[in-house]
């Protein structure tokens, strides 16, 4: 099976499992992004057909929500909190360090494909600001040093 047909098969299976839920579009998009890391534009026609929506409607939903992406992310996605609590604890300086260390801005992926950097507006870890998330792992009281350590550790585990 080619990569594209296996992608389509995955998407089709997710659609048939979830399409009968009331308001099924977000659960389906989550399912696809969980399985593939993003929602490929070529999956939009199948999702639209499965839910009896127009492709424009599906695209509109994908583009509305910050979390859904239509391009593949790097191997690890770093969500760095930009919200007030983190700003009060040096979040801006941390953001500058993170961007310099990775050599990328928000919404970008490092050239080696290892890390994607995304802003997030609150991880609910405001008692331990500044905070970030790498994959599903959450980090609190992040400093430039602890960020570097977390990155190195994530690279070693990879």
């Amino acid at each position: 099976m080619t990569e594209s047909s296996s992608t389509q098969a995955t998407v089709q299976e997710i659609i048939s499992n979830l399409k009968n839920k009331p308001g099924a579009l977000l659960p389906i998009l989550h399912g696809v992004q969980n399985a593939l890391g993003y929602v490929p534009p070529e999956s939009v026609p199948a999702i639209a057909k499965g839910l009896n929506l127009s492709r424009a409607e599906v695209h509109g939903v994908i583009s509305f929500y910050h979390y859904f992406r239509d391009t593949p992310p790097g191997k690890h996605t770093i969500h760095l909190c930009r919200a007030e609590s983190c700003l009060s604890m040096g979040g801006k300086q941390l953001e500058n360090h993170v961007k310099a260390r990775l050599g990328i801005d928000f919404h970008e992926t490092t050239a080696d494909g290892k890390f994607t950097l995304e802003p997030v507006y609150c991880l609910g870890n405001c008692a331990c600001s500044p905070a970030m998330q790498i994959g599903e792992d959450i980090y609190g009281r992040v400093s430039a040093n602890s960020f570097d350590a977390a990155i190195n550790e994530t690279e070693e585990l990879a």
Partner: protein, 517 residues
């Protein structure tokens, strides 16, 4: 005798190393052939002490913290598993001032129990509210909630009982209960702590709400940023179904209630109730016009109760102990307790549940211990990103909905974020406009265009350009947002912006307050 040791599974505790500490304790115990039972509890909400390890002794639960992996071996050397003294010893957990001074109603169980153990829940007063509710008429359940004086804890503070009553009295073949768990406000984490630390209390509260208004389906709309809460909720829901606390025949009463968690996708606006319902229906999260009220025509056009996590999690104790019990806490028209969240530049960050009426200063200094940096606290934002910034001169305001409204501020969801004197308030005002621009749903013009223009005007002000034109322009723009927006995002962004300008004009390049006006 087996030894019981608690290490929190709360994601903030995990962010400080709780998982690693738990693994290290298990490994060290095995190495030393000590038989221990390791339980992952919720967090007590004393985050400067996390990871906070507790050991059960005859005297009570002894606390040690903050524990790092490197401390584990020395803790065992000190016989901490039998209550031995160590440099990290904190004494009996329940005797710690920070906890002892609180009035924990909604958070009564959190930190004490294994969050996903139904037995723990039942052994600690769980499901007593539901048992009472099953013997009451729908109107009497609603009456208990109305009598309690409970007002929506999500931020809008609308009386919960009135909302329920509207749904109860609207005839429909299908009604819904929605829990708004899209806790997007910076500085807030009480919803997360409940969902991770006591998910059954939310399930019970929603079930009671379903019985009260005649809704058979509930949805928890959870933000995707909370993966730990997602797992805890799903585990607890499955157990509740297995034990007959959810399903077609709740505890053989013949009454049905079903519950499902749905994930958001990183849109702050979906915390607005009509936008949330659009999202649940599988659409872009565009805000709806009101009326119709969701209580009359909500999810899929059906009567719908939309309540915040804390509101719903407060219902079980109200049905257990009565509306009067809950109402006897608090002041004025703010009844019961509010779980406050101390965050940002604060030494002792954490969860402080208290009856309304404490002053902000008491919270910041008596509980919070002042700033984390040791510098003076200059500004405090209460109520999330749409809440006003308060200067030191307003710190004696009591934490009460009406007292805050009187100084043009909001309590919101109870989040308190402190900033020390290194903060640049013009930058914070710019940030508020930028945030509004990023998160605007785009439906109404004041919010969609006004926020972007606001950011541009703030850029000019920060550069010191044409202040005598740009400051009035900013005020004018805020006035448009305030009065012309469809929902609270555009309508309240002026709170942080104008409060920053009014209280801290010097950061905007204005030397005296008179000229700021």
């Amino acid at each position: 005798m087996s030894i019981t040791i608690y290490v929190p599974c709360d994601s903030s505790a995990i962010s400080l190393g709780a998982d690693r500490v738990a693994a290290a304790i298990a490994k060290e115990a095995e190495k030393r052939s000590i038989d221990i039972q390791l339980i992952r509890n919720g967090s007590r909400g004393l985050f400067w002490l996390e990871p906070l390890v507790e050991v059960v002794t005859q005297e009570g639960r002894l606390a040690y913290g903050p524990v790092q992996v490197s401390d584990v071996s020395s803790l065992f050397d000190a016989n901490f598993h039998q209550g031995g003294m160590h440099s990290l010893s904190l004494g009996l957990i329940e005797e710690l001032d920070y906890l002892k001074k609180q009035q924990r109603l909604t958070f009564a169980r959190i930190g004490k129990t294994d969050p996903v153990s139904l037995d723990d829940y039942l052994n600690n007063d769980g499901y007593r509210g539901l048992n009472n509710a099953l013997n009451l008429s729908q109107a009497d359940i609603v009456k208990a909630v109305t009598d309690s004086g409970l007002r929506g804890r999500g931020g809008a503070a609308f009386p919960t009982g009135i909302k329920w009553n509207t749904v109860l009295n609207t005839v429909s073949d299908q009604k819904y209960i929605i829990c708004n768990a899209d806790e997007g406000d910076s500085g807030t984490f009480s919803d997360r702590m409940v969902m991770e630390g006591d998910p059954f209390v939310l399930i019970e509260g929603m079930t009671i709400a379903g019985l009260a208004v005649g809704a058979t389906q509930g949805y928890i709309y959870l933000r995707v940023e909370y993966p730990h809460a997602h797992r805890a909720l799903n585990t607890a829901i499955e157990k509740a179904y297995q034990a007959g606390f959810l399903g077609d025949d709740i505890r053989s009463s013949g009454k049905a209630f079903h519950l499902e968690v749905r994930l958001g996708a990183g849109a702050y606006i979906c915390g607005e109730e009509t936008s949330l319902m659009e999202s649940l229906e599988g659409k872009r999260g565009l805000v709806r016009f009101k009326p119709p009220l969701p209580a009359i025509s909500g999810l899929f056009g059906k009567p719908t109760v939309v309540n915040n996590v804390i509101s719903l999690a407060s219902v079980p104790i109200i049905l257990d102990k009565g509306g009067d019990y809950y109402r006897d806490f608090g002041m004025g028209r703010s009844r019961g307790t509010l779980p406050l969240q101390l965050a940002g530049n604060i030494k002792h960050t954490g969860l402080v549940e208290l009856a309304f009426g404490l002053t902000l200063r008491e919270l910041l200094y008596d509980f919070g211990g002042g700033s984390a940096s040791g510098r003076p606290i200059r500004a405090v934002q209460v109520g999330g990103p749409l809440g006003a910034y308060l200067p030191e001169s307003q710190f004696d305001t009591p934490l009460d909905y009406e007292a805050f409204a009187a100084i043009w501020a909001v309590l919101g969801h109870g989040g308190v974020v402190a900033f020390d004197d290194t903060v640049d308030m013009a930058e914070m005002a710019r940030y508020s406009m930028e945030f509004c621009a990023i998160e605007s749903c785009g439906k109404c013009t004041p919010c969609r265009i006004g926020s972007t223009r606001g950011k541009e005007v703030m850029d000019e002000i920060i550069k010191g350009r044409d202040l005598n034109k740009n400051i009035p322009l900013l005020r004018d723009l805020c006035n448009t947002l305030l009065n012309g927006s469809l929902c609270a995002l555009g309508g309240m962004t002026p709170y942080p912006v104008l409060s920053a300008l009014n209280h801290f004009p010097e950061d905007f390049g204005i030397n005296d307050k008179a000229n700021a006006a």
